[in-house]
Amino acid sequence: MTIFAELLSEQWAYRELLVRMTARDLLLRYKQTVMGFGWAIFMPLVNTAIFSVIFTRVATIDVGTAYPVYAFCGLVAWNFFASALRFSVTSLTSNPSLVTKVYFPREIFPFSAVLVSVVDLAVALGVLAVVMAYYGVLAPHASLLLLPAVVTVLIVFTSAAALFLSMANLFYRDVKYLFEIVIAVWMFATSVVYPIGRVGGRLGALLALNPLTHIVDAFRDVLIAGQAPAPAFWVTAAASIVLLGAAWAAFHRAEFTFAENL
């Protein structure tokens, strides 16, 4: 437990740097772009349009609400996860001068990558509200009070993966290529654009173990269906916290070898 006290106190001591690095990444990401934050919602919107055509015209499925709302909600959550990890994977390797020349807690790199995506997520959730209003499903459910908990679990799980991936990519550069493949497959193994429960059978049982499905479903539960998340979500929440602790401890153990291995 002392290690976690140490990690948290160090992170607290460097909180200004975390904010600065996040501000830097935000600034850099949208500097010299015309659309700016528009890019944060562009991709989920395009995907929503594509999957809406597929699942309302070609292979019609019932998702219990307007399909575009269903898909956009799933894509907003998924897009946060995928883009946060995409930036995290190379967050250490793309800052070699900082990693090899200056000391500060290295977690700042993957964490700021995740935080930048949190800003995007906030923007995207605002757009989701507009989409829901357009389809007439925007309602002030009491379950909205649980949204911060759901978002927190998503961030915790993403951070755990971000710590692990950024560290792994520093030691083995294969990771970033492998990541692209895994993330592409993972999206269709999660109930992002269709309810994964429809898969059924042994594959379905296997897919039910996917923690992301429970988190994405929880988003829809609290935002659209107006109900509390399923028990599986709370199990995922507990597992995510344990995972973050483990990933952080492993990262901390390895961070003193980063400079030698970059």
Partner: protein
Amino acid sequence: MSAVRVSGVWKKFRRGERQDSLRDLVPALIARGFGRRAPEGLAKQEFWALRDLSFELQPGEALGIIGPNGAGKSTLLKLLTKILRPNRGEISLQGRLGALIEVSAGFHPDLTGRENVYLQGAIMGMARAEIKTKFDAIVDFAGVEEFIDTPVKRYSSGMNARLGFAIAAHLDPDVLLIDEVLSVGDVGFQEKCVTRMRELIARGTPLIFVSHNLTAVVDLCTRAILIDHGVVQYDGMPADAVVAFRQSRRSESAVTAAPDSPIRITDVTLRRGDGEPSPLFQTGGPMTIRVGYKAQRPIDGAAIAIDVHSADGVYCTGINTRMDRCTLGTLSGEGAVELAIPRLALLPGCYTISAGILDPAGLRPLDLHARAYPFSVASDRRDFGFVYLEHNWRHDGSQQTTARRRVRATAGAIQEELG
């Protein structure tokens, strides 16, 4: 309590490329699982960069660290800044460390100078409010007011380094770590840096200064350690450490003579006024250089030449017996020629002497020990440059002729004034 304590520090590195693709991971894991590799020992291709290194730094001390390339100086710096962690031993450091190393490492080319000051400041551990209050001083120190809202990718490398140094210089650290700052910027800026360093030293901030500029080490530091092959070879007065360093280099410097040369230099000794051989001299003090020779056969009309270079390679002076119209006669058997310098006109720093015997035609050396004999000059004088000019100041007074005040002060009197 010591400001910095390094006790029994060992650090090893791996030679060559490490495997960093997954293809190599499996064999590596198997090797690790089965091979009984003692974590304390050295595996194949590993070497110790630092071996059992220990020293302490007290508040108010300015410690110079010198040594040849590859001695372990950079490794030590990275250990002190916590970028690397020792394999064995411990490093403890009281308070905030200010490192004037890689002062612009955190700069991002696409951000403006202003944005980078805040970013780099945060990287160095400054709070936003602290940077805000020091912002103007930092920009002023760096001299980049006009360009502060320009992306640093448009900065010259000098501006970049100056801005970085300015941020670091305003950190108000508890321990200051400096690596070759004197290579940053132009002369004016370097003077600013040295002034700032002296300010911090005067305030009692303990300082560690790693440099190849031996003159600067002698000038700024109160103590110096010489590191070679990862071990502390000497710990003591800066001038003595520099001498030890020079002596360790001596065996590697060029000693050239034609294989069939009829005469060779056997030894060169530098002596102080009291006749004691010494590598340390005083500005304005006496120095005697004695060149011993051994001739295979008698040689007529040969000349002895002495050159002095500064540590950074500037040719300070060259003298020889021929130009001084001093005829040595016939050199035969074993003997020695002495050059007496009554008042050494060199300012504090590190120098090397080359000794040579020139053939009668003066065309080529019969034997040459190039930059083989190092010595240091110490003094309480703080003039600039290499050469000490004996001098007097005189003030011829103002327009009021009635009481013409004459101010005559010898250099020594001014010296006393300045303390």
